[in-house]
């Protein structure tokens, strides 16, 4: 066994996985990763199950040190500067930390959460099948709270496998798609149009329970109190002050404010990654489109292993060369051997 020591970490960083399902009827919310695709990509890179527990790293920097042996990890999600002992590390790749080496991460750029998966997973005691931290309910393992400097995660010793990268589809800077309802009839057409046609920003006071939105005031038709009913990830509730809150994985399982719309499953991760203060819009789609997008998203999660490329394999480097050429930057075959060198801006320090 090796361990990964948290040498430094900011707030809003915790162990998360696919979540804790089946006990919402008792008031226990699922929790789980804010961006499941990024969680799955990081896990896939080190050969873990896609929704295995990994470290969800909030917007601030962090540092992790291997102890008692080498540790193989992979990083995906929000872009950040990353280096091991001064060697820059590319995003969406696996890497091995020798015993005593430290991976240092900068602030998140263009996103909020990154995922550091550890080969062999994180040792812990699952509750309702999950290690995910739900601080309010005192759940999560090995620590039932956000991570702090000095915490240690027990894990497998690195296998020495060939390092890999994963090619993920480009993230669209498109509107966040929603299905209207369940309580869109608590708003008149003018207010629904205002919701859909306005520019919104995520408030800095947001957290894993909910993202507060800044924009126009949305007025209710009959007041803001409804009889509490069930919520889902992505429920957009409108409280009395008219400022919508999008419920996130640590949400209450029930809520008493009208829910004007719900973010579609395929866009939840992209929404969670929207940085505070960045302007975005919503777009209403029909159920058929939402479910079709959901199926495509589930398919993407399932086929992530097909997107892996060995960093050292000659054949795959030819492909990397091809990709790089398609992207418009001609590289030599020699350069293709070091495909993982990040773009210039990723090398710049924060």
């Amino acid at each position: 066994m090796s361990k990964l020591v948290i040498s430094a970490i900011g707030p809003a960083s915790s162990v998360q996985d696919g979540g804790r399902h089946g006990a919402q009827r008792y008031g226990l919310t699922p929790s789980g990763a804010m961006d499941r695709l990024a969680l799955a990509a990081a896990n896939t890179l080190v050969g873990n199950k896609p929704l295995a527990a990994a470290i969800e790293i909030g917007p601030f920097g962090a540092a992790f040190t291997a102890r008692a042996g080498a540790v193989r990890v992979a990083l995906s999600g929000a872009q950040r500067n990353a280096d091991i002992a001064g060697r820059a590390v590319a995003p969406d790749t696996s890497m091995t930390l020798a015993d005593g080496e430290t991976l240092t991460l900068g602030f998140a750029r263009g996103g909020s959460f990154s995922y550091l998966a550890i080969e062999g997973g994180i040792a812990g005691e699952p509750v309702f099948g999950s290690l995910a931290v739900n601080a309010r309910a005192g759940l999560g393992s090995p620590y039932p709270r956000p991570l702090q400097a000095g915490d240690e995660l027990q894990t497998a010793t690195a296998s020495g496998a060939v390092e890999r990268r994963i090619d993920l589809p480009a993230t669209a800077d498109a509107p966040i798609r929603v299905v209207m309802g369940p309580q869109d009839d608590e708003f008149d057409d003018v207010q629904k149009k205002l919701f859909l046609d306005s520019e919104w920003k995520i408030s800095a006071t947001s957290d894993r329970m909910g993202y507060r939105l800044e924009g126009p005031v949305i007025k209710h038709l009959h007041g803001h109190n409804i009889v509490s009913d069930g919520t889902v990830d992505g429920s957009i509730q409108v409280p009395g002050n008219g400022a919508p809150i999008v419920l996130m994985p640590d949400r209450g399982t029930s809520g008493g404010y009208p829910k004007i719309a719900t973010v579609i499953t395929a866009d939840l991760g992209r929404f969670a990654q929207t940085p505070a203060g960045k302007v975005f819009r919503f777009k209403a789609v029909g159920m058929a489109e939402a479910q079709n997008e959901g199926r495509k998203f589930a398919d993407l999660l399932r086929t992530l292993p097909d997107r892996l490329r060995s960093i050292e394999s000659f054949d795959l480097n030819i492909e990397a060369l091809h990709d790089a050429n398609l992207a418009g930057s001609a590289v030599s075959a020699v350069d293709a051997g070091t495909w993982q060198i990040p773009a210039a801006d990723a090398l710049a320090r924060d």
């Binding site: 008031g27 369940p182 009889v227 429920s235 029930s254 499953t265």
Partner: protein, 243 residues
């Protein structure tokens, strides 16, 4: 009673959940239908349904759209919801001990004043009630009870408290509550119970089920302290009167 049941409304909650809404109000008949549909789905597995969450007046049905789509599941739910509500044959009934007033129930005096009566009378009315767990939600084990006597109905506090103790027994609007974890609340705090409706390493982890019957009994502070130690050690403390 052979009265025709009106159909519930099927409201989309995103692309993988449907809210089956029987009423817009807190309504006992609607809650019975919610719990009946929940029970039917538990017994008669519908492929693709992953989790159900009963609340006062609607059942939230989570499903996997790769296995079943909105229209087909909606039709099945509608058909089940229109079946006659089966008579409840087996209901569990719990007696939950409560220490009322003083430091344990800081709003008891005010509630009595507001309702122009004595704290003892409020306790007597609260203890006399026959309650049903209408839903559990918000935080683990927070049990919302229907059956609060009309004379105890009163609006929630203007300023919700950010922190109320674990085990708080409270009333708010037309509801009574058994709160498990410490947390925020806008309800009137009448007392505390040592009973933990949620305790992680106990079997069962969750004590109450939606549909369970609940009555309260008054205990003194000493008994509460004893029960609190026992509950901490994993004892259930609540009394199961009928199973």
């Amino acid at each position: 009673m052979a009265a025709t049941l009106f159909p519930p409304r099927l409201l989309p909650s995103g692309d993988s959940a449907i809210t089956v809404e029987f009423s817009r109000n807190i309504d006992d008949a609607a809650n019975q239908r919610v719990l009946a549909l929940d029970a039917m789905l538990a017994h008669e597995a519908v492929a693709g349904v992953t989790e159900t969450v009963p609340t006062y007046r609607s059942l939230l049905v989570h499903y996997d759209p790769e296995q079943i789509d909105f229209e087909i599941l909606g039709e099945k739910l509608l058909a089940l919801a229109l079946l006659p509500v089966p008579p409840v044959t087996k209901t569990r009934r719990w007696r939950i001990p409560v220490v009322y007033g003083g430091e344990h129930g800081i709003d008891l005096e005010d509630v009595a004043k507001t309702l122009s009566t004595t704290p003892d009378d409020i306790v007597a009315r609260h203890v006399a009630g026959d309650y049903r767990v209408a839903m559990i939600g918000f935080t683990p084990g927070w049990s919302y009870l229907s059956g609060l006597e009309k004379s105890l109905h009163m609006p929630r506090r203007q300023n919700p408290r950010l922190l109320t103790p674990a085990g708080t027994i409270s009333i708010g609007g037309v509801q009574a509550g058994v709160q498990c974890l410490a947390g925020p609340s806008g309800w009137h705090l009448l007392g505390r119970t040592a009973v933990k409706t949620y305790q992680l390493h106990r079997d069962p982890t969750f004590l109450l089920e939606p549909g369970d019957r609940v009555t309260f009994s008054a205990v003194d502070a000493e008994t509460f302290a004893e029960q609190d130690r026992a509950a901490e050690a994993g004892e259930i403390v609540a009394e199961l009167i009928d199973a």
